[in-house]
Amino acid sequence: MKLSKYLKDQDLMPASAAKPPAAPGAPAAKRPLPDGRMAGSPARNAERSTAGRGLSAMPHRAAAASVKSPSIGVAGNAWRHVDVPAPGEEESGFDANPAGIYEAARQMGIPISDNRNLVLENAKACLGTVFSKMLYEQGDSSQDEREMLWPMVKSIAMDIAHIVSDDHNILLYLQRHRVRKERLLWHSLYTAILAMDLARQMKGLDSSIQEIGGAALLHDVGLILHPEGVERLDMDNDPRYQSHVTEGVDMVRKIGAPEHVVRMIHDHHRRLDGLGFPAASEGEEFPMTSQIVAVSNVFEIMVIELSIETQTSKSGAAPANDMHGLLQQYRQAFDDGLLKAMISIVGFYPVGSVVELDNRVIGAVIRQNTDMPLRPIVKVIVDGQGNRPEQEKILDLQQNRLLSVVRTLAYPHESLSGRSGDPAKRGTSALEKPLHEKRSGGLT
């Protein structure tokens, strides 16, 4: 079953994807933020439309019904060079929710450079310091020092909140884990970024975005009590792994975090269907804020951290789309609206995924089209005849409606989501490097 049909049947299609396609040349409809404001500042909207103008400025040959499925042999319609702005060149998401200090900098003529990676590196270092202090907080640290830790965590959350971009190309800006022993830190940071972006889309939450971000930063803090490392623990059956939840709750309580934050940490492995741990008592609520942290934890591991090994059935048929599998696995675990929102953030085909199009072209997803998550921008790796293109070829599936993704071959791999802003450096080794093994068992 095609993913799009599955999502429609299951009513998981994000509202933005259900909108009818805009007429050619019509400006993209603006999407209101949950509080009613329009997404992005006028400057940012102008910026986005600049990118749009870059696309439509190319000679566009109307996709007449008489044109057959494009292949490499058909010039014009199949291939157009598209000026896709590299992520490093675009202004950051700061101006979507400008902090006062950045407004002041702008007024002083200070360029707001894209320092996302620097912010992430610094946040990682700071979080590591906080973890160390929490690990030893029962030792020599004073009451005052312990009480400073929660404000510090909130500060880290707010610093990385600027990474949350309303164009949902988050995965463009996330680094791969370069050092294995830092995996917990990166996982915590990325979970927090996802959770805060989700929180911005949900209404009526009883915690602030910085509290949700702070809870996400600390959700796995209990694991630091197990220096042997997460990967050696049997996640599904080892009580030492499961104990990290209650251990984390104790640690976070001791630094004075509010009880609703402690609750999010307590719940981060729970599910709506009652599976997961700790076991829920009958009628116990699974608050939306807890679900936000829990679903972000799951998606961070399954989509960002892991690459899923391509598998083929015995008949040699194409493997099922793994986002499909992920949604089937967690359909009963989280609120539908939350899953829809998560899909709209991460994309049906997350940045870095290797996909096959219906003209047999294989490409790497390099950017999402925010209003059409099923139609990303793809860089060609192999053409329909199995050849690598001599020149860089970019396909914007939002512009080229004759093409569609038929399946995902591989999920984001280290080589596909590097920091380089140059699309040419992405995706070229996707089919050369071995994929990571899928982690066994379900995540709850």
Binding site: A99, M152, K154
Partner: protein
């Protein structure tokens, strides 16, 4: 403004560094910037500590604002000098109150305005403040 006034800016964000440096220098004071724990330690341990005001981001790589506060309070040359903390967090009333027991002023980056920052510089970097 006495041009001899010297301000140490401890912040890892290049945008904030530039902004604070510009604002401090526009008042005729000298601004020195340290971006991380190593640079700060180099100044606090080996450098001259003739600063009149410390601007401190609560979160820095490899060192926390708390550690820096401890050091500033322990050293005779810096003890008693005014400290303004910058934080990206939105603080509760209680958190702000606790922090103000340790420092002279707290700026939340979200609510930063140049007017308010100017007022703080007036308060803590004036000749009167320097002689206090």
């Amino acid at each position: 403004m006495n041009p001899r006034r010297k301000v140490l800016i401890m912040d890892d964000d290049p945008v904030v560094q530039q902004l604070l440096r510009k604002l401090v220098e526009s008042r005729g004071a000298e601004a020195v910037v340290a971006a991380n724990g190593q640079e700060i330690n180099a100044i606090l341990v080996n450098g001259a500590l003739d600063y009149d005001l410390f601007l401190l981001d609560l979160i820095l790589p490899s060192i926390t604002g708390w550690d820096i506060l401890q050091t500033l309070r322990d050293k005779p040359q810096t003890k008693g000098k005014p400290i303004i903390v910058l934080t990206g967090a939105v603080l509760s009333g209680k958190e702000r109150e606790k922090m103000l027991r340790q420092v002279n002023a707290v700026i939340e980056k979200k609510d930063f305005t140049m007017r308010e920052f100017d007022r703080l510089l007036d308060e803590w970097l004036s000749d009167a403040a320097g002689e206090a």
